[in-house]
């Protein structure tokens, strides 16, 4: 019988890498994202536009990894996000997402976690970086 051990958030000290995940930006995943948010890249150049991935789709992939690795409990809120886009990614690109704990504090029964985001392409060129702030119920 498998035993699930709950993640001990207090042990996630600043500097701890919690995610190092590779994704391929396949058409199906990106299209799902575009369908959900109802937006797209404007067709300045139809061919070019079709292959570009909305940067927020990549951010949401990163967040997916963080949610999974942190076993985010119900009641968690995403309260802030900073992002800096360095270069556009294209359908078919392989990206590397990392997440590192920057801050982890508890105040008034709420855990505040600041997680650094870095996304690079398969030749280690930066695509985006930033940080997200999550509050988790204690």
């Amino acid at each position: 019988m498998a035993v699930t051990v709950a993640l001990n958030y207090s042990k996630l000290t600043p500097g701890k890498k919690i995610l190092d995940q590779s994704y391929v930006l396949d058409n199906e995943t990106i299209q799902k994202y575009i369908d959900a948010v109802g937006g797209n890249i404007p067709p300045s150049d139809e061919t070019e536009a079709l292959s570009l991935v909305p940067p927020m789709a990549i951010a949401s992939l990163w967040l997916r990894g963080v949610i999974k690795e942190l076993e985010i409990p119900g009641g968690t809120l995403h309260v802030g996000q900073e992002l800096e886009f360095t270069q556009a990614a294209r359908i078919g690109d392989r990206i590397e997402c990392t997440a590192t704990i920057l801050q982890n504090t508890v105040r008034k029964d709420i855990r505040f976690m600041v997680v650094q985001l870095k996304v690079t392409n398969d030749v280690c060129q930066p695509i985006m970086q930033g940080k997200g702030t999550l509050t988790l119920p204690e």
Partner: protein, 284 residues
Amino acid sequence: MIASLEMIKGEYLPTIEKVVTQLMINQYAEASGDFNPIHVNEEYAKKSRFGSTIAHGMMIAASISELMTMIFKQAWLNGGRLKIRFRAPVFPGDTITTVGQILNINLLNDKKVINCSVEVRRQTNEVAISGEVTVMLNEKEECVETFVSGESVTIVLTVKANNAINNPTIGILIRDRLGNDIFGTNNYLMEYSSGFFNKGETKEVCYTMPLNLGVDIYSLTVALHTDATHIGESYDWVNSILVFNVIPSTQHFFSGYCRMEPYFSVKSLSENNLLQENKQHVMH
């Protein structure tokens, strides 16, 4: 065709409005892998402090990036910065409006740095997301194909003379999507000289003007000839060298093709109403 130099501090950006549905939230959960019950489990969410499911913050934030992509295109994708706070939940059925305003435009080395405030508001005017974005544009400006009605634009034509020619007429013509001429002019009609072109010489010719056009798709045609029209001696003529969009501005929506910007006034012509009219003037 270039834009943006004329972007000014305080100017409002165009807006994006959309209705958020539970279906979209469920689709976003699928796409992002975020199945937090506060987003997708109505029974769970009813017992929460929100009393209902709420949309993912990043799903709503996507409309900010969508707006920035629409305006700044590659400059946003290759160098945009976003700093936001999720301030209030967005519920299924809400209509959200994404708005922005230019806070500052600064020059940094060869780049123009544009700072904008952004907000996503619910239909109640409650701010769901607020924050700032920064975009860096090359000082040489961005070649774009989508413009806000009324925005100042510059059409830049590069003209190379294969033979020496004196004062050629260099013209532009904007047509609507049906091919009707909307506006055309040239330096002959404007009584400007384009000067003497030596054999092999290249010159840059610019037309700068407010793009006072209605929302639609247009094409740009350019021509090089003598005198007022190309009927005399025509050197070059390129139809639809650029197809571009005009999108609504945040101020004074109008119908039709031309932004005429009339002055509006009202006065009563009835004697009984003179007193009332005077009062109204005082109020103004």
